[in-house]
Amino acid sequence: MDWLAGWLREIIFIVLIAVFIDLLLPNRAMERYVKFVVSLLILLTLLSPVMRFFSADAKDQLEAAFATSWDGLGNDSAGQSTEVILQQGEKLRQKQESEALAWAGEEAARQMKEQIERSTGQQVDRVTVKLRTEPVKAPTGADATHPLAAEPVISSVEVVMAQAKPEGDAAPGAAGRGPEVSIAPVEKIKISVNTDSGKAGDAEGQNEAQSSAVMAGSGDEAGGETDPEANAKSGGKPATIQLVVQIEELLQQSWGVDKEAITVLGAVNPSEDHAGR
């Protein structure tokens, strides 16, 4: 409905202007011509929704047409300096770059979401990926051969899990443990991931295999803060921690994202502590 209001407003205003300049005109001789042009403008305004429907770049086209006709008249600011043109080119380039970045971010987020859902079996609400361009540094080694002056780098990843509500309700109450049924298969998959990689996930894998009581002694940096809670809840929270760790590892391995840059939201509190470390 917003476009309708804008359209009507535009029509009303253009008709008002038309009447106004009809009064302003100096004599009758010009009247027919001016009326013709103004009525064309009104027609254009009336057609504008149709034009927008048929060609998205109608506005640019119109502006280009006007610009050329004014150049032909010679009363436009014809002498545009090279500097101005270069500035416009730079602006266009930046715009294009940011659009490409946004698109790449969306695509990466979509793939990450699919990946996480496939490997964890958990529903992911949404994944937000923020990209930024970084000038290529010399010590990047193998990647230094890039022809680009700047390459996109994933600056932060935010994963929002869909089952935030039931888990959050279930953990403090310790009565309705419905959601944990769906978490159970995660342990299995998790272990298989550990056998594959066995690098960063080794310590975590031990934690999950033996229950939360052992976790205090394993001395890994993630478990240290949340151990008391984990002990108290007897395995309720480690599942979510494990999920977070799994997601982080997954993203780190397949996307090369720094663990610091990954935020997993929507799980219970320990996950946030974990992500913020």
Partner: protein, 129 residues
């Protein structure tokens, strides 16, 4: 009060022209032309105010500025062509005056060309090929 000033200026100029015309027709024409220029310059400020208001309104109502620019260009062309044509006509050159008017009309039509082309393109796209 401004209208009185303008009318007064016009009356004085007319009397002067009538007086001078017998001796020096050339000066009579100069007086008439300069009076016209003076009145025109006096009005330019007022027209500027009107145009500012129009631009303000256009910005608020979201009309494309390119439409307003086109309309303003049309008014400008019409005024200037009319002004020049009248001065020339005062000098007794009716044929040159009509040429000036014709030039004004042609320039106004040139402004219409991009609009026409866009409309025709849209219509062609609307119709199935």
């Amino acid at each position: 009060m401004e209208i009185i000033q303008i009318v007064g200026l016009g009356l004085i100029a007319t009397v002067l022209v009538l007086v001078v015309k017998e001796q020096k027709p050339m000066f009579a024409f100069l007086i008439a032309a300069s009076t016209g220029v003076l009145i025109f310059l006096y009005l330019i400020g007022k027209i500027g105010g009107i145009i500012e208001v129009l631009e303000d309104l256009a910005e608020k109502s979201g009309v494309q500025m390119i439409y307003l620019k086109t309309i303003l260009k049309i008014i400008g062309i019409a005024y200037i062509a009319e002004f020049g044509a009248q001065i020339v006509r005062d000098a007794g050159q009716e044929s040159i005056a009509s040429k000036i008017e014709m030039a004004g009309k042609v320039l106004i039509m040139v402004l219409a060309i991009p609009i026409i082309s866009i409309i025709i393109e849209t219509v062609i796209k609307l119709l199935p090929a």
